[in-house]
Symmetry: C2
Subunit: 405 residues, 2 copies
């Protein structure tokens, strides 16, 4: 893409009321825009990153047998009364129609939709297990939103729901999804700093796990075992001051961000919706359920919290908006741009005539594309190549550039 055609520009300053590192950097670099507190638009660069994250998650969900659907944002009050969450769910957006008697919930999660949906198709043990997921925007009526993309009033989630005939089958699938989550975080570049931990608080804490990523901006404080890649949170550490896996007491402490959570819901939602099946003995039983979430925007924000320096973002290659940032100075790099594109390399081509060299360098640093390639009179028929994450610069030929990038 030609940067002269990109409708966004970088900014010197983030909005004054924006506190989090992730959103300050993403707004300044033109990846997102704040529509209001806790609500953001994804602009072309941010949208590209979002799509890359979405692709990784979709592939891994399909690999564990997930069938993709799309459920609505608007949910009927009745379903939430059935589960008792109309009154009890924290930060629920509830509202009435102005034209009819209808009352709605803006979905913060979809157990109230997926459970009655599956009831329409599940009646026998032969219809189980089933794995269904969606990628969709969700809503929470939060009082305070100060963490940028880490906690918003509107946010994009992948939610997978699983349905089983037995608790044992739920357990086996739960362990499979756990492995799939490690893969997702690995592929997104934060594998090294992400730990599995027992979830804190809530009724279901003992049936659920969180994936926590170490960053200085995190909302939670965790104690983790580097060897086993397992963490325990503050509440649990008081009772068990050791790693649950290797029993080592050498735990490290840090603030962390939750990037995923998985729950054994068991029959909590199948019971109120009478989601039952006949087993092979002809007995009617409740379906066992699991649910598994990842916030896409939250993951994107976490990646920025982990990978940045004082100059800007440093995207891990698999989720970068482009692979190469091609800068031209007082010369025409069109030939190299075309050649990279021909070989399928994603390039942001800074062809702007009215930007100074200083502006182009600063933009490349804040946008954070993995490879920076410079073509100028000084470099002749060579290209000056540098990784965003390193300071070493080398001169390469066009052929070498295509090979490396």
């Amino acid at each position: 893409m030609r940067q002269s055609e990109l409708f966004t520009k970088t900014k010197r300053e983030a909005p004054k009321d924006e506190e989090a590192i992730n959103s300050r950097l993403l707004i300044r670099a033109g990846f997102i825009d704040k529509a209001m507190a806790g609500v953001y638009s994804f602009l072309p660069l941010g949208f590209r990153v979002l799509k890359k994250i979405e692709k990784i998650i979709r592939e891994e969900m399909e690999a564990v047998g997930g069938q993709e659907i799309l459920m609505p944002t608007l949910q009927p009050k009745g379903n939430w009364e059935t589960t008792g969450r109309w009154e009890n769910y924290d930060s629920l957006f509830r509202f009435k129609s102005h034209y009819s008697k209808n009352e709605y919930v803006l979905g913060p999660t979809h157990e109230e939709i997926i459970s009655p949906l599956l009831k329409k198709f599940v009646s026998s043990y032969k219809d189980l297990p089933r794995y269904v997921f969606q990628i969709q925007n969700k809503f929470r009526d939060e009082t305070r939103v100060k963490s940028g993309l880490l906690r918003g009033r509107e946010f994009i989630m992948k939610d997978l729901y699983s349905f089983h005939a037995t608790e044992g089958d739920l357990h086996d699938y739960y362990e499979k999804v756990k492995k799939s989550y490690y893969k997702i975080f690995e592929r997104s570049g934060i594998g090294q700093s992400t730990f599995l931990t027992f979830a804190s608080g809530g009724t279901f804490s003992k049936y659920s796990h969180e994936f926590q990523t170490l960053t200085q901006a995190g909302e939670d404080e965790i104690y983790f075992c580097e060897k086993c890649r397992i963490a325990v949170n503050k509440e649990i550490i008081k009772e068990n001051n050791f790693c649950p896996e290797c029993r080592s007491k050498k735990l490290k402490k840090e603030k962390a961000v939750e990037v995923g959570n998985i729950f054994k819901l068991k029959t909590k939602y199948s019971e109120p919706f009478n989601l039952m099946f006949k087993n092979d003995q002809g007995e009617v039983k409740d379906v066992y359920m699991g649910c598994y979430g990842i916030g896409l925007g939250r993951l994107l924000g976490t990646i920025v919290e982990v990978f940045h320096d004082e100059k800007g973002i440093i995207w891990p290659e698999p989720v970068a908006p482009f692979r190469v940032h091609l800068l031209e100075f007082q010369t025409d790099a069109k030939k190299i741009y075309n050649s990279l594109q021909k070989f399928g390399v994603e390039v942001l081509y800074d062809d702007r005539k009215d930007a100074t060299a200083g502006q182009k360098f600063a933009d490349a640093d804040i946008i954070g594309i993995p490879w920076r390639a410079i073509v100028s009179k000084k470099t002749g028929d060579k290209i000056e190549l540098k990784k965003r994450s390193e300071s070493k610069v080398k001169l390469v030929s066009e052929k070498e550039l295509v090979k490396i990038a």
Copy 2:
């Protein structure tokens, strides 16, 4: 995909309160589910069709220079007060937070977000023109919803917005998008039955056009010229009883469904948001805007209205959920399934052991995949191949099947 693993099943009956042909067929075939009146989930088969339509639209939007973004559903009251639409917009979902003073709109359209967004990046004629689009769910607080996917309370839209320095430039781009819309409807299979018409009613009717598709279930009545592929609506026909292009008076009358609309907004939204630019003379001017919508669910529903028979849906090939429906009867078609997949053919493989031949035939008809391939003891090492849209059956070899399908 193996049909035994698909979590949906076909149904004999649609819900009693569902009147429209599109939603009755789509629910019976397991493409969509009704979460409540006017609100649907897209199930695996429906989601696949939706993604195919999305891909066609995305490609054509990129071909006219569109840059993709994702704007939020939640919009602040203030922006809607700025344009005067907080009070005046028909069927607007407006509501308050339970925890703060915030008041929100659920976006039925995005001029109130995109105009202030572009203001952050446009200041000079050098920043124009700009073309920005998104594909996202939208909301209308409708009193009556009886048309299935043709008019819902929640629906998925592609909305493109264009920004120009002059009215002439807006005009030229508007004509370009018109052609792009013809391509989209052509590629979706409804090109032959879709006509351009001047929009009916509303302030902007003289600056806007609709694309109407002929179906018996339509909400509008149009008069159309088959030769020029142009239509005029009821109000206009009274004054001008002829085709605006060729002046022929041989117009045909039918009910039709609006599948797309395009508007020259001019400065209607740039003015209230002070979206201005300096022209090359240094004068400050308002930006000219256009907007261009297509409802993806509406388009999907319209395709079903146009292409069905008494037995079920007949998908046009480019938007079909699969290309081949492979049915096995008392034999194992796994080898053919694998071979088709190897050649990149999308196959739904009816490998169910407990379904009767009659059920398999009926399911193939209602689901409506373009090619039906049957493997049974009767067909030996040949495959019985039939198009959903034709009655002719022929026996082919595995090699021929891969070639044809």
